[in-house]
């Protein structure tokens, strides 16, 4: 039971930290922010790897895990790349105009 309690504290603190951090994000960057957070939430790839790579995986769990790794990897790779692509556009202006 104590473990859950500890985890709930972690969650609470992370959520408050998240609120503070996101409030500081420039309004200009809300679209890249969304693609960045959707890339970060693809951290679920960790769970998918554990399921797919487990020694005792059944055909069912391995198949589900496999699809999950594909879906999460798509988000990780695509999410970071497109966020960077967007941010590059914001950056270029700065150099060109100043």
């Amino acid at each position: 039971m104590r473990n859950y309690e500890f985890e709930l504290y972690v969650f609470m603190l992370a959520a408050f930290l998240g609120f503070q951090l996101i409030r500081g994000v420039s309004v200009l960057l809300h679209t890249p922010l969304m693609s960045l957070t959707s890339a970060i939430s693809a951290i679920s790839v960790v769970g998918a790897i554990l399921i797919t790579g487990a020694a005792d995986a059944s055909p069912l769990t391995r198949t589900l895990g496999f699809i999950a790794v594909v879906a999460a990897t798509t988000n990780v790779v695509g999410g970071y790349l497109i966020t960077d692509r967007m941010l590059r556009m914001f950056k270029k202006r700065e150099g060109a105009k100043r």
Binding site: Y4, E7, V10, F11, A14, A15, F16, L17, G18, L21, I22, G24, S26, V27, L28, H30, T31, P32, L33, M34, S35, L36, T37, S38, A39, I40, I43, S44, V45, V46, G47, A48, L50, I51, T52, G53, L60, R62, L64, G65, F66, I67, V70, A71, A72, T73, T74, N75, V76, V77, G78, L81, I82, M86, R88, M89, F90, R93, E94, K97
Partner: protein, 461 residues
């Protein structure tokens, strides 16, 4: 030894994600933030692959390969106008992953109590977000009708379905051996996701996309509770907070509550109201409009979703350049809900090389309208509708707007006199100082640029 170090890789990964969000505070550090996030992700993945309980690599590597083969072209080739759709799809993919992992965990070793409660929450949010985001994609990509689809008793049906899914979820927590219940639970969650989006109109998509972002994050966080993984809890909580804040910002920018966005079916009221008698308005040609712009000292451009559809951002940048060269001060006024996702206009204009210090938020620019010579509205409608301030019976009453009507002159590029997305007539069109410029946004701005450069040459000759 190695196995003891691995948990600290997760700790570093969590720090990377926190820094990633912190550095998004300014365009100057934002790319560094992406790097921090990517490094965090890499550490987390490596730390997981090296764990002693991961023994089968073959399928994981194949999945990495397939995922990258889909993800890279999607990121590199996707036009910026399609970013809302891509975001919806990525929410759907992320939610699918968490839902399937939860399902696999459930069939692997069903356990009760707190873990099962977290698993139920994870899969509920996962499955419903997956279908909801797919529906949002359909609406954004205009495969599905963008108008809200409503029927009698819709909210009761939706809430009833959700209640049923939750009830089955609770049953599963109490008795996890009832595995036959799980597919029913998953199906109900998926159906609820579809029904949730059906009554939501295209103009509300910014809120919905942000909310789905939040759900996907919370689902990942719940997975952290299932797997006893604190890094997952942190990453998920950060995303959950991010999505929630963005959707609150969007709701505020429309002066509406969450419940109203999700269950209010915007725009329905208008079917009757739009039938009002035709009112007189003034229209002008590109030539006349160019003369007005040329004589102005300060111009504020208000882009909306129509600009995105017409892909007029590059022409707008040319207009910005040519006017700036002639000493006209040009700025862009960005309403928080302009477009189909938070920050949509900023990305499009940045893509077209508009300097980002010219993109001004609503609160900052509103004080400038009374001293602006021209407010040029392109593809925006509801966000400049003065009825929001003057008519308490209007469906958008109280919504913060860009006060274009306070400018000395208003010009509106529009295809015709049809009402906008929310189907609400706009008094701005009928003011004495308003000129309607009829035509496709892209072509019209192009001809404005042409007129201005012709003018310039004539003046120099």
């Amino acid at each position: 030894m190695l196995q003891e170090i691995l948990p600290y890789l997760y700790l570093l990964a969590a720090a990377g994600f926190i820094l990633a969000l912190k550095w998004m505070s300014s365009p100057k550090t934002a790319r560094l933030g992406v790097l921090a996030g990517a490094v965090g992700m890499l550490l987390a993945v490596v730390g997981t692959l090296l764990r002693f309980d991961v023994v089968e690599y073959q399928w994981i590597l194949i999945a990495f390969f397939i995922g990258s083969a889909i993800g890279v072209p999607l990121a590199v080739l996707m036009p910026m106008t399609a970013v809302p759709q891509r975001t919806a799809i990525s929410h759907s993919c992320g939610a699918l992953a968490t839902a399937l992992i939860g399902t696999a965990e459930f069939y692997k070793h069903p356990q009760g109590g707190f873990t099962m409660a977290a698993l139920v929450l994870e899969t509920l949010l996962g499955f419903l977000t997956m279908t909801a985001a797919l529906m949002a994609f359909g609406k954004l990509h205009e495969i599905l009708p963008t108008r809200p689809i409503t029927y009698k008793g819709q909210n009761i049906v939706n809430l009833g379905l959700l209640a049923l899914a939750i009830a089955i979820g609770v049953w599963l927590v109490i008795d996890p051996t009832q595995t036959w219940l799980f597919p029913i639970f998953a199906a109900l969650a998926m159906i609820f996701g579809v029904l949730l989006i059906i009554p939501i109109g295209g103009a509300d998509m910014p809120t919905v996309i942000a909310l789905l972002n939040s759900y996907a994050g919370l689902s990942a966080s719940a997975m952290g509770f299932v797997l006893n993984n604190k890094m997952l809890i942190i990453a998920g909580a950060l995303d959950g907070a991010s999505g929630l804040i963005l959707s609150i910002i969007m709701c505020r920018a429309m002066n509406r509550s969450f419940t109203n966005v999700l269950f209010g079916a915007f725009g329905q009221v208008q079917a009757t109201g739009a039938a009002a008698a035709a009112r007189p308005y003034r229209s002008a040609s590109a030539e006349e409009a160019a003369q007005v712009l040329d004589a102005a000292r300060s111009v504020i451009i208000i882009p909306g979703y129509g600009m995105a559809i017409a892909q007029a951002q590059h022409q707008l940048r040319e207009l910005h350049d040519i006017l700036t060269r002639r000493g006209v001060e040009v700025r862009f006024a960005i309403h928080p809900v302009a477009g189909r996702m938070p920050g949509h206009m900023n990305v499009l204009l940045a893509e077209a090389d508009v300097p980002y210090d010219k993109l001004i938020e609503m609160d900052e620019i509103n004080g400038e309208f009374p001293v602006a010579d021209v407010a040029l509205v392109i593809g925006a409608n509801d966000v400049v509708n003065p009825a929001a301030q003057t008519d308490p019976t209007s469906p958008i009453a109280g919504m913060p707007i860009l006060e274009a009507h306070k400018a000395r002159m208003v010009m509106i590029i529009k295809r015709g006199m049809s009402p906008g997305f929310a189907g609400i007539d706009n008094d701005l069109y009928y003011l004495d100082k308003t000129l309607m410029l009829f035509g496709d946004a892209k072509t019209f701005v192009q001809s404005l640029v042409k007129e201005l450069s012709a003018n310039g040459q004539a003046a120099h000759a």
